[in-house]
Subunit: 381 residues, 2 copies
Amino acid sequence: MQNFTFINPTRIIFGKAVLAKLGPEAAKAGQKALLVYGRGSIKKNGVYDVLTGALEKEGITVTEHHGVKPNPVLSHVRSGIRKARENSCDLIVAAGGGSVIDEAKAIAAGVKYDGDVWDFFCGKAAIREALPIFTALTLPATGSEMNSGCVVTNEATAQKFSAQGPALFPRVSALDPETTMTLPRTQIANGAVDAIAHIIEGYFTTKDADAAVTDEIVHALARSVIDSTGRILKDRADYNARASMMWSATLALNGLATCGYGGMTFINHAIEHSLSALYDIAHGAGLALVIPAWFKHHLQTSGPARLEKFGAEVFGTSTAEEAIKAFEDFFRKTGAPVRLSEAAIPAEDIPRIAENAMGLIRLWGMKHEQPEIEKILGLAK
Amino acid sequence: MQNFTFINPTRIIFGKAVLAKLGPEAAKAGQKALLVYGRGSIKKNGVYDVLTGALEKEGITVTEHHGVKPNPVLSHVRSGIRKARENSCDLIVAAGGGSVIDEAKAIAAGVKYDGDVWDFFCGKAAIREALPIFTALTLPATGSEMNSGCVVTNEATAQKFSAQGPALFPRVSALDPETTMTLPRTQIANGAVDAIAHIIEGYFTTKDADAAVTDEIVHALARSVIDSTGRILKDRADYNARASMMWSATLALNGLATCGYGGMTFINHAIEHSLSALYDIAHGAGLALVIPAWFKHHLQTSGPARLEKFGAEVFGTSTAEEAIKAFEDFFRKTGAPVRLSEAAIPAEDIPRIAENAMGLIRLWGMKHEQPEIEKILGLAK
């Protein structure tokens, strides 16, 4: 078990009808909110009314910044920063899924920085401060509601890069599982795959496989995501399944699932970011393409031990090959694509995808070369 | 799954040779430390030298307050408060196990309060502020290093009561598993039982048994404590087992193991506090006496469902009775007593023990009467 540091100061308020509690919480931080949201689903499911009502009740002025798209783009972040400055916003409220929260974080950091916000993503500057961030999560998937990272796509350069810093931990995140009841099936699928991806990256890439307690937590969260997703697909109105899924996805990337692992990388994410940057496919869908292929490569290069252990504990399988198939079956069951062709990505593009992925692989200091990435992508054909 | 709030701002620094990092961390909070410790084991295992060296390197003046005993007592807390005031201490450093950290927390709150510190324990006052607390944990057991509670015994009234408040979260806790290598076997046993006790209280007393993700986490932590304790008893020098045990015990009572449970109580703890208050036995030993007896009572009053589920997931047992026996076997294997007679507590004392327990049961607002507590204790004969 390797040395580690764990810190996570985000306050979680979880359950039915909790969103209005963000009003008094936000009022402790400021009086002028930038309300960041997507393309209007929060107006249909009532989140918008509850949230703006709760903020206004506290005398908080709300400036709206909507239209955040999945795989949030740099140009929209920049316009959010301008809007926050013009309106002297002193806090940010994000209402939506991981894309909305990530864009809100980028804006929060960008407002407090004299240079270009992209500097944080390409490693030119570190995030030293940010506006206080409050979130109302409506899509369990990325874990952004309880971590200090964010991912933005620079659409001019086709780079999907990440930035992080302790200032980006949301002060308070409100998670109401009932807001997820109306999610379309593709978003249920993408969220499940994304959560699984976060749970497995450390487990399978660690050079130190003797962190028994973290292994147990990884198995526990994986079982919970898989079980609750199955229950949701059977009965969309199953509140307890929605709640278990929501809290599992948050815990999947709040730091808990990697304590004591060493030398781990986010290789599946690095490759996926290239797919999203080039084809604008959902992050979860991209991960469902990459993960089984990467597992096949992992089996060839690192042996069967971790796949056997994970498979036995989570899927009840006996061999590494069966464990990989069980992952594919789960992804297929949710409706996610597991081959490039199923996402209409031509195999001829593999060199171009790998070349794009290398940008992030180098930036993150990972030891992979382009031929290896091409080989992994070849296993997704 | 019930609504819940989760917040835990303590920074954990975990691993080999991490204790010296408390120096710079403490220096951010103040310049005059009260160093709280027990009866000298930290002078034998090197913790004292590392810690005082690290504090002095930062120019921090150290006032010592040692002699904390297991089941820390109010009189010693009061003398610590006087010492901290006399020396104008602006931070507290606790080096030891849960008793030391609990006493340090009580002192930290007491220094900032004009009344008597016992007011916090008997419900007369709420903790509004406290000196910043830093801990170097040497005994995995109570979880105090990452939560906001503390337990102190008023030796004049034989009351072992608890107090809590957000101000009691340690700012930083340093956990070096190597400091646990020299623990005597009884402390290994007591720590394992205490951690298990924290893991199970919510799971078995919740009125809402559909918080699937928290059930999974409870199973995961229980398996980890049981497995790592077995490894430690086989090989005292097994670092990875020590590390897994240490992090598991911290996670057992940091809030994670009860998210979404409803109507839960700390009944086993309430009964045990009476045993410690009256006989000054170790908290872990007292819990090993109470838990199997309470399980037998739980089985009679609430049915077998939770015991069957827990037993199947953690021990591989089939029935509730087998699960209870597996708990007893585990406690026995560690060397903990599982019957009153094994701890030299006379069965004739049961009414007196139950009467004492009722003080805490009423204070905590639990719905139990003395005959029920006597019946539970009778099952421990």
